[in-house]
């Protein structure tokens, strides 16, 4: 076993090559973004310490000669001082820095989606077969009036008196979560743009500005205004289907962002509208928002800039007092509120924040929906739930808990090959997703992976239709907020109360 240098932190994985199978094509050397492999004259040599188990090498090894194993070398077992703690202490004692991680927290917190079961029909009400009957998933995001106002035309027929506030029309209740150009590659953004257009949904470009190549996808794009205000101008605000103000992120509530200067090449510099080579820093707060009334000003400044023709979304992280916060955000004029839960993904976040701050999306969305209903303002804004939606089952549960739609971030990246190695912040992504290295990004073919992402959302949509049919309803709006169709298992009374659902059998 080789070690690159003397450190207490052992390699987590072993890249084991079966030299009998290996034909020395060196494809693994090319494919690994981490520099794990090199050619030692007659055979491939692996530096295990560099391996992150991203899966790229064995996926593309034509001979199936590579195995990635968990390093069997044990650390002395201790239920309290686990590997995770000890290794972080070693790492930080060597660097003196804040530990940084990518992706959502890998720690095993209770996942409430896994403790919720769905209802179905038997005898007294019939299930509906989605292959025979229409099954509607169409979703509109935006403010709805609390009541309709009618006029009557010359024929005496009722017509709408006032135009509806602007809406985003989604063919299926999914959107792609905001991921900026810079945190991910342009090709990764293009994958989502192509899929969003084909699916009739929207992607969110995050805070990194809008690249010229994405301008034609405007109808399927939400543009973001975050604390760094990168690339923001009047044309930018008007180039998408909606504008989102990013206040926080589930993986790092209360924390800003930092894209290091070495990643700011010519293209990103132009898109973000900052000089090449300078750090792109998004401060923790917006420096013009220090209170809810300031947020209101920004919301209306944007509405003025887009002539009230596009909905304005506000993205917040799910924190303890989220219900009151969202109520304030809605009353401040937001048309959509995007709630990002604990365990949501990130390109880079301080590990301490990612692993310890926030509340799960299941509870957050249930609480927010309930609070807005109690205040009689649920119609004023649509809610998007995010924070590791792993399956169509999670999506159905989130919608029944009160979300209008769900956002898919990590799941979308997984369709591009992501193995959730959690090293997004290093910029070495072998899959060409969270990297700007041209030799890596060019391997991510937008068309090929756009189709895969399309397939995924298409499949999930079919699954939601199956579940709706089993529940005996033929429209997603009959599921939305219908907590009566949910039951909890293995949950305490407090947990059930926080979710607003009954225990199974009740």
């Amino acid at each position: 076993m080789t070690k690159s240098s003397f450190t207490n932190v052992q390699s987590e994985y072993l890249a084991v090559i079966d030299h009998a199978k290996c034909i020395r094509c060196k494809r693994c050397i090319q494919n690994c973004g981490w520099g794990t492999y090199s050619f030692g004259g007659d055979k491939i040599i692996a530096d295990h310490s560099k391996c992150v188990a991203c899966g790229r090498c064995y996926t593309y090894c034509p001979e199936g000669a590579i195995s990635i194993l968990k390093n069997p070398t044990v650390m002395r077992e201790n239920g309290n001082w686990q590997d995770y703690h000890i290794k972080n202490i070693w790492r930080q004692s060597e660097t003196g820095g804040i530990a940084i991680s990518g992706m959502g927290t890998p720690l095993k917190y209770k996942k409430y989606f896994d403790h919720i079961l769905l209802d179905a029909c038997q005898v007294t009400n019939p299930p509906i077969d989605p292959l025979r009957e229409p099954m509607e998933l169409k979703t509109f995001l935006g403010k709805k009036p609390s009541k309709i106002e009618l006029d009557f035309n010359e024929k005496g027929q009722p017509v709408l008196k006032n135009k509806m506030p602007p809406q985003i029309e989604l063919a299926t209740p999914f959107i792609f979560a905001p991921m900026s150009y810079g945190s991910i590659s342009l090709n990764a953004q293009k994958v989502m743009a192509l899929a969003a257009r084909a699916l009739g949904i929207v992607m969110n470009i995050g805070e990194g500005g809008l690249h010229d190549d994405l301008v034609p996808f405007g109808k399927n794009i939400i543009v973001q205004v975050a604390s760094g205000r990168f690339g923001v101008n009047r044309d930018y605000l008007n180039s998408g289907a909606a504008v989102e103000i990013k206040i926080g992120q589930g993986a790092k509530p209360g924390i800003g962002g930092h894209l290091p200067g070495e990643k700011i090449g010519a293209d990103i510099s132009r898109t973000r509208m900052i000089p090449a080579g300078t750090d792109a820093i998004s401060p923790a707060p917006h420096h013009d928002i220090y209170s809810i009334e300031d947020l209101r000003q920004l919301i209306y400044a944007i509405k003025e800039a887009v002539n009230y023709e596009k909905p304005v979304s506000v993205k917040v992280a799910a924190v303890h007092n989220i219900a009151a916060i969202v109520s304030g955000v809605v009353r401040a004029g937001a048309d959509i509120v995007y709630i990002d839960g604990f365990s949501g993904g990130t390109g880079a976040a301080p590990t301490i924040v990612r692993d310890n701050v926030g509340i799960p999306i299941e509870i957050a969305i249930a609480q927010v929906d309930q609070r807005l209903r109690e205040e009689g303002i649920r119609n004023e804004a649509s809610l998007i739930a995010a924070g590791s939606i792993r399956s169509s089952g999670d999506a159905v549960k989130a919608i029944a808990l009160g979300a209008d739609a769900v956002a898919i971030g990590t799941a979308a990246l997984i369709t591009m090959g992501c193995h959730v190695c959690g090293k997004c912040h290093t910029g070495n992504c072998s899959w060409g997703i969270t990297t700007q290295r041209p030799e890596l990004t060019r391997r991510l073919d937008p068309e090929e992976h756009g189709e895969k992402l399309y397939n995924l959302i298409n499949a999930w949509s079919h699954e939601i239709k199956e579940v709706l049919g089993a529940m005996g309803v033929n429209s997603i709006e009959s599921l939305r907020g219908s907590k009566e169709r949910l039951r909890g298992i293995e949950l305490t009374d407090s947990e059930l109360k926080a979710l607003g659902i009954k225990h199974a059998g009740m």
Binding site: K147, L160, R480
Partner: protein, 383 residues
């Protein structure tokens, strides 16, 4: 003990049922014999655990007063409720609801009716400006949720509900409906599966002048209920039918939707239909779905909805429960089964099966039947 309220843990009532409705568009009044005969033919659609009738035009001498029909478990409940009435209403007349003790109806609550109107100087005027209708709604909800052993089952003007635990034909005898006259009747035969023997749970369900009889189970109950709670409706009974009545109250009385449009909220056209509409209509129907998506009734249902100006029959969007209509002269009949119609009207002018989600709206006086609502295809003309 008699059950006036839903004390079961089940959040909403699951039932299969039979329905009938008769309306004379010229408001000629007939007694309850026909409707009893029609619903009796649907005997097997119920299980003897709930039957009831709504009749319009039955109290012409008190047509300006709210006619409250109230069930009481005991005299204490009656006393407490009457104290509330006396404080807030001018009671013109009160009496026991006439009943005929039949061996088929074993136990029954105290059944009393009051003809009254809200006082102009009632206490709530100190802090709110509720109109009389709103105050009546509030009172009904208050009594039904907070007054143990009391349940208001009818509160409209010149109309009344008569219902209880039993087969509907026995309930008709019990209330002596052959002595009652009205221009519009609806009837219900109930087959509850999990909340049996509950007087308040029988149909029709009424609120002010609205009455609903309903065959079905609303699979969207959970969200319909939460939607109504946003508008301060208190869903004390926890039944599907209550949800329908309150949605109609919200849409028609409070949001001023024409009846036709309100029906298009309950059974909204599919987007594939909306997308083919003319732009103006498309905009309206899309907005209706956007605004009232949570009021969409999803799941199997057939309902007959009565209001002073007419009657509406409606099926769910994919017609999962039976509903047949027939006309003869000024009469229109609605029933779960065609045989019920022919039982009392052997040779109707038309008999047809209303299409899924398409309301049949019969308005009194002016028009006989809104012919636009019956597409030619569904008319099965039998001379």
């Amino acid at each position: 003990m008699l059950r006036l309220k839903n004390n079961f843990s089940i959040e909403h009532d699951i039932a299969g049922c039979g329905l009938c409705g008769i309306i004379n568009v010229k408001k000629i009044r007939t007694n309850g014999e026909d409707i009893k005969k029609a619903i009796a033919l649907e005997h097997d659609r119920g299980n003897g655990l709930g039957g009831g009738f709504a009749v319009y035009g039955c109290y012409p001498e008190y047509s300006e007063l709210y006619a409250f029909h109230v069930m009481y478990d005991d005299l204490a409940a009656k006393e407490a409720t009457e104290k509330y009435f006396k404080n807030n209403f001018i009671i013109e007349k009160q009496e026991s609801i006439p009943i005929f003790k039949t061996s088929k109806i074993n136990d029954h609550p105290i059944l009393h009716r009051y003809f009254m109107k809200p006082k102009s100087d009632r206490e709530d005027r100190l802090f709110s400006e509720l109109k009389d209708d709103d105050f009546v709604v509030k009172s009904v909800m208050l009594i039904n949720s907070d007054y143990d052993g009391a349940y208001v089952f009818s509160s409209g003007k010149n109309m009344g509900a008569f219902k209880g635990v039993g087969y509907p034909e026995d309930i008709a005898d019990f209330y002596m409906l052959d002595n009652v006259e009205g221009y519009m009747w609806t009837a219900h035969n109930r087959f509850p599966t999990n909340t049996p023997g509950w007087w308040g749970g029988a149909h029709p369900f009424t609120l002010l002048d609205w009455s609903i009889v309903h065959n079905g189970e609303i699979s969207s109950y959970g969200i319909n209920k939460r939607y109504l709670e946003m508008f301060k409706y208190n869903l004390a009974l926890k039944t599907d039918t209550e949800v329908i009545a309150y949605i109609l109250d919200l849409l028609i009385r409070k949001h001023k939707l024409p009846v036709e449009l309100a029906m298009n909220v309950l059974a909204a056209p599919f987007y594939q239909t909306i997308d083919k509409m003319e732009p103006e209509q498309k905009e309206l129907y899309t907005a209706l779905r956007q605004i009232y998506g949570s009021a969409l009734l999803n799941g199997p249902f057939a309902i007959i909805f009565g209001y002073p100006d007419g009657m509406v029959a409606l099926n769910d969007r994919i017609k999962l429960r039976p509903l047949v209509a027939g006309t003869k002269g000024d009469f229109t009949y609605i029933a779960s089964e065609e045989s019920s119609i022919r039982e009392i009207c052997p040779f109707p002018d038309f008999v047809w099966s209303p299409k899924a989600g398409e309301p049949i709206i019969i308005k009194t006086v002016k028009t006989t039947i809104d012919s636009e609502n019956i597409s030619q295809k569904q008319r099965l003309i039998i001379s």
